[in-house]
Symmetry: C2
Subunit: 398 residues, 2 copies
């Protein structure tokens, strides 16, 4: 029993944490419950029941299947479902009529062949990346509705009435979902994408701002020799950038949903969401480079303190200016203001890059220990790549 | 009309390409068509129709929604659907009984509250990453069935008969899907995962095997000065590794599906699929490093030919031995044989790493141009990181 209690407490804690991490999850759950209860009225109220019949259950089904976390997701599923049902219903009735021309004997055979061909073709179309991304659910519903209409048509004669009923209940269920998801604490996919990309830039900035101090400082504190070998320095560095490495899928699905959303807040309809994907890709590029630098910091080759001190100035400046530029870009994205406040930092980082080149050209070391130089040189050169990457990000944001 | 023809031809070509890239897609489409046609028999044949009633359409619905590309996906959806329907059906009947205790007036209110609470709780549970990964579809169906049963119970008195009918048609539809997906040209998620991870190792190997030659050769051919500056050298390098950078999601979903599959071919039940995720993560780590090296190759800083020639030997050996080791590991994974044939290559790459250290320690250059040394040093140091990464991969495969 003690173990059971501990288990329950730990589950309760993780539920609490899940809700605190993003309170919109809790709200979303209540919204789904509300939509379902509302639609259930279709069944409870007698007059409605008489009007809609068993088809009323399609409204319940629609709500459960269609209600997504973001407005864009809900709208995309609703519209896909609506149009696919309409199209497939029409085609199904046509197929029934066509099959009936072949007489009682031929009808089931023709219908079977039609179902087979259309289902196979539609299933194959789901492998197209573009259809997969936007109309996957619609194609699924198309297959479903077409088979149901074509097949049930063999039994029920009042097909048109049935199709009309079903479509109207689906529209009712879909409309309930759309209204609730848009007007009660809406979660806009576009806004989420906007925030996610900006916060990714911030994560990179936090790492870069901290990097110079940690990398060059930690060695001084502990005297030469230990260098960056132990994990101490690293533990100070913000590892948040790691989440950027695998951000591609979530960004793409958010952008896909965002395209379905009406204008909201600061985002008009037809906002260029693809642009965020470009910035996101550059941010990932930058995160890959940081991952490489992280490897160097943990390298077991002793870094040359002499060489380190030679490039410390420009390198620290490069990373901190890059960090500041990213912070400025992220802030300007968030507030949707002119991002030109980042320009001086970008210029500074470019200047620091040049300084690094001069410092390297000018420096000479007697009895240079190349082995010890290598890790430091790597950090410098990857920083140069990062600086270039951040220039591109800055251009993309403008 | 000319434009239209061109459009149609280009679409036809992309259809052909999609089918040729993976012929299993075509087969899958036919399998879905077949399953649907078979299940439609439930409607066509009169005796079956009388037995199943309108519930027969649930079989059609199940087939459309449940049939996935991989066996694991189909099984996971079938089982999720089956158990969720069973559980939710039972709970729904219980809820109906419970609500009926409150009399004609109280019944709809109690039912409404129950639907609201259960739907909200179940929706919230879908945010748990572990439930999301494995039981997402089951929870959806649970909400769906519970609402339908609880709500329709208010109307229909023969709830148990209805539940029994629905469950049996769902089982029939699900069984059709399972049998077809397992016995007709099955696509095993586990095997796909196995192949994907092995082919990722091969892609890395191809890059690394080519790297040494291209990087050190291209400069010699063109004399010093031009160096790796132009893209010529790079164009020879296989860029296939780029697809590894974003492989995380697809690998994880394959591993999730693989867990549902029965033993097949060389993979017994409860095969440790998680292990592939570990190898995949290491391969990604390696791909990040390669991405960093790729940046260095394109650097606009002129590389020092003198320094390059000093580390050419060990660096080329490191990259080619790493490549060979990866090839051997990939082959042994594919044939499921002992991966010890990779050991000598791993040892060689370790030795080359040591050689590089000695070469660096021993080398001295007068008037060393540090600026020109930096990019070369970076390549060397990232290669060291890659070599370490490949040691880890080799350990993981063993």
């Amino acid at each position: 029993p003690g173990q059971l209690m501990a288990r329950i407490i730990s589950i309760a804690k993780s539920i609490k944490k899940l809700g605190q991490d993003d309170p919109r999850r809790l709200i979303h759950s209540f919204k789904v419950g509300l939509a379902l209860s509302l639609v259930s009225l279709l069944y409870y109220a007698r007059p409605l029941y008489d009007g809609f019949g068993v088809a009323g259950m399609w409204a319940v089904l629609t709500v459960v299947v269609v209600f997504e976390f973001t407005v864009g997701g809900t709208l995309s599923k609703c519209l896909n479902r609506g149009f696919a049902t309409f199209l497939a219903g029409g085609l199904g009735i046509g197929a029934d009529y066509f099959a009936s021309l072949f007489g009682k004997q031929g009808e089931p055979i023709v219908l079977g062949i039609l179902v087979f061909v259309l289902a196979a073709a539609a299933t194959f179309s789901r492998f197209f990346p573009r259809i997969k991304a936007r109309y996957d659910y619609g194609v699924l519903i198309f297959i479903l509705t077409f088979s149901l209409v074509a097949v049930s048509g063999y039994r029920v004669d009042e097909l048109v009435v049935l199709a009309h009923q079903r479509l109207s209940t689906i529209i009712m269920g879909g409309a309930t979902c759309m209204l609730i998801s848009i007007f009660i604490c809406p979660v806009w996919a576009g806004e989420d994408l906007h925030k996610a990309v900006a916060s990714n830039l911030e994560k990179l900035a936090t790492y870069l701002e901290g990097f110079g101090d940690v990398y060059f400082q930690s060695c001084k504190d502990e005297g030469s020799g230990v260098g960056s070998k132990d994990g101490n320095g690293k533990s100070f560095l913000h590892q948040g950038y790691k989440s950027i490495l695998n951000s591609k899928n979530s960004e793409e699905s958010l952008a896909n949903f965002a395209r379905w959303e009406p204008g909201h807040g600061r985002f008009p309809l037809r906002y260029p969401w693809k642009h965020y994907l470009k910035i996101g890709a550059l941010a990932r590029q930058c995160a890959y480079q940081i991952e490489a630098i992280n490897g160097c910091i943990n390298s077991d080759i002793q870094a040359s303190e002499e060489f380190k001190s030679k490039i410390e100035g420009p390198c620290s400046r490069m990373s901190s200016e890059c960090g500041k530029a990213l912070k400025a870009l992220a802030t300007s994205m968030k507030t949707m203001t002119d991002p030109s406040s980042a320009n001086p930092h970008v210029e500074n980082s470019k200047a620091a890059m040049k300084d690094l080149k001069f410092a390297l050209k000018a420096s000479s070391m007697e009895n240079a220990d190349f082995l010890a130089i290598v890790p430091v040189a790597t950090v410098g050169s990857v920083l140069v790549e990062i600086t270039k990457c951040i220039q591109k990000i800055s251009e993309a944001v403008h």
